[in-house]
């Protein structure tokens, strides 16, 4: 009995979170992350740089005694960096036990996007495929568009594949 009830309420919770996305702005675009990954949102904090890591890993922050790495989303998306302001936020996400902070320019809102409003990213432009890997869908809200991110792919160390596709891109560019 008791277990059944708990299960039921978990279902409820899942149900309540389903289709909800935390949206934020990085560069000129709005992105969304499924809300069940998001732990909390904090203001920008002093970051301790760590040497010899990927350029988008900005370093470590102290989240109430827990030390977590932070990723600059602009750097992750290969957009030129901006000064951090008081609007800059860190979204703390938990992906299968790995806690990571995402530095973003501006937090937007929590939106509900129905499954039917999510379309796979168009793959006309094959040049951007490498960057699109962590965008698994495009959500439409009215005339607005949010790019939905797959956090697992987002934080994964994809050095090798990125390097590979970058080389391809270069080759493409040369051909043009």
């Amino acid at each position: 009995m008791a277990e059944g009830q708990i299960l039921f309420s978990e279902d409820n919770l899942e149900e309540g979170q389903k289709g909800k996305y935390m949206t934020f702005k990085t560069g000129n675009e709005y992105f969304g992350i499924a809300i069940n990954y998001v732990c909390e949102i904090i203001g920008i904090q002093p970051i301790t740089a760590v040497p010899e890591v990927e350029s988008y890993i900005k370093g470590l922050i102290n989240l109430r005694g827990k030390i977590i790495p932070v990723i600059d989303m602009r750097a992750r998306f290969n957009i030129e960096p901006l000064e951090y302001t008081d609007r800059t936020c860190i979204i703390v996400i938990d992906v299968k036990g790995t806690t990571v902070g995402l530095i973003i320019e501006k937090i937007a809102e929590v939106v509900t996007i129905d499954d039917e409003d999510i379309i796979p990213p168009p793959s006309l432009t094959h040049r951007n495929t490498s960057n699109n890997k962590y965008v698994y869908g495009i959500g439409k809200i009215g005339d607005q568009v949010k790019m939905l991110l797959d956090p697992e792919k987002l934080i994964k160390d994809e050095d090798m594949s990125i390097m590979g596709s970058l080389a391809d891109d270069d080759a493409d560019a040369n051909e043009e």
Partner: protein, 714 residues
Amino acid sequence: MAEDFNVEGMLDIFLFESEQLLDNLQDIVLEMKDESRFDDDSINEIFRVMHTIKGSSGIMMYEDITTVSHKLEDVFYYLRDTYPDNVPHVKLVEYVLEVADYISGELEKIKEGGEPDGDSSKLVAEIDSFLTQIKTGIIDSGEDLPPENEHQEATQFYIPAAPGEASKYFRITLHFFNDTQMCNIRAYQAVYELKEYAEDLIFSPEDIISNEDSGEVILQEGFRILLMTKSDRAEIKSILEKCSGVELVDIKESTAQEMMLGFSDDVIMEQPSPIVIALDDEEAKKAKEKAEAVTPGDYVVVKQDVGKKKQIAKHTKGPSKAAFMSVSVEKMDQLMDLIGEMVIAEAAVLENPDLKVPGLELSNFQKAAGQLAKITSDLQDVTMSMRMVSLQATFQKMNRIVFDVSRKLDKDIELEVIGENTEVDKNIIEHISDPLMHLIRNSVDHGIEDKEGRKAAGKPKKGKITLEAKNEGGKVYIIVRDDGAGLDKEKIYSKARQKGLIDSRSINEYSAKEIYQFITYPGFSTNETVTEYSGRGVGMDVVVKNIQNINGTLEIDSVPGQGSEMTLKIPLTLAIINGIVMEAGTGLFVIETSLVKEFVRVNEDMLVHEPNGEKYIMIRGECYPFMNLAKRYNMMSTESETIEDGVVIVMDYDGKNICVLVDKLVAQQEIVVKPIPNYIKRVRGLSGCTQLGDGSVALILDLPGLMLGEEKVK
């Protein structure tokens, strides 16, 4: 109440308890191994340990363990009662150790989620024949055989059950051994067993499952059951005796009225005799005699009225109960983290900018703040000390190894242990056990000569290995010393050359210590023949690697003909280090204070540039390798700083010096070491990170890694 007798939650306790008992057992046996026989205390203790293990493994239904421990229990039961003087002591010691090994082996399997499937039959048979052997010796000398098991004796005075067709009523009191743990669970097991036979059943204390303290009460007063059943007394008795930890089963006839009254009515309880008399005069007398001869642990306690009962439970905390409890390491870590946070929060309060308003009257605040600061630092110290564990258990294990290996190799060796109470952080203990075991084995196997060798060298027949631990300068020294042949420099040198481990410098160009270090190189083993214990050439390099993992070092020294000495230097704790915080470029770093030799301000002139890009620095005529930390990690800040603005830290590791240039020293403080999050891949030269008093994060430099990295970069 759950109907199934669920053992899930008990498994951990069973494993933990049994392990402790086995450790205990091993200690006793090893202590007594050099005597001619076990003394009374140790016999009783071993008997008790085996009895408890037999019982609890019975509950958990590990039959092989039960059988083996039962056998050994028999042996010691016999010893306890007859004091035979024809026992081959060494043989017995070996059997006890074998049993201990067997059980620990099985426990290990259970722990890893497997089934305890080790074959016990051979061991049981051996012990059996051993027991017969001693017994026969006694029969020859004309003595009677003692009873096989104590329970028969203990329950002899009970009346046999009167046969009857209708239901019978029994009043049962179970007494457990004084030091039995989890009495409540065991009592519940008894109840569970009885349920099959019972028509009705009441027991007291009632909350045995929900209330852990009830175990204490049961231990003091016995566990009381009122039973209505069709089974007869003998049957009930045999069921109850099977339960583990039960010392005494007291079964009395009872009546339906009594059953109805339950335990609430003390009048009847205080006067059980008349009722019994009605049934059987003889028995009543006996019971009365027994009641008058007040012996602790007997059913006299039943007579306590309810009010007194609680008092007793509170007052008599048995001294045998160890004042320890086990806490999961995870919780300890959590506590550490919380305290770390509290220290930071404290700083945030005490240094709060709001307090900096000029003209603020703060004397009361300062007083309270001082108090708070003191408590916080005390709390930190206590938590630290909770993680510290004495080396005793680890050293005791070594005792066993010396015993085993020396017997197999037919060497006569004594192990002297000094300073086993030295305390080390729990994490470290886990890491030094294996290396230490290796060193001891090496000493027994390679260090100490065989009997002829010792005779020829004019040494006492008995070899001696000293295991010493001491605390010195924030480090723990563990020294393994033997009075054997010592290390042979030439042999080591030629072996190392032969294996191609070193370059072609001649033997005279190496210092003795350097040559001894060769034996720690991978693939080095001077023992020509591979023995069971050492000599596969994987030993010493693994030892060194393990020790380096916990920031320790191994020093080897030897005097030919007089023995050798291995010194392990390990840090007291890994969780907290005393560190110096510094800034370099955009980064914030910490280096362990004990590695720092000095700080020097230098100028450009002291730098020596080699054409290949390497830099050296001359300080007071000495030349050291030089590294610019910020440059090394590509973390140069935008404003260019000259070498004159920075500070050079001269650091010493393993006899090698290195000078590191940083921009600024920030502070020296105790820091809590935390791992760098897994998400960030391993960076050479960094061993962890920490949070500082102001909440910022600093990276902990790992000097060996840094030096190695430097070499690689070259």
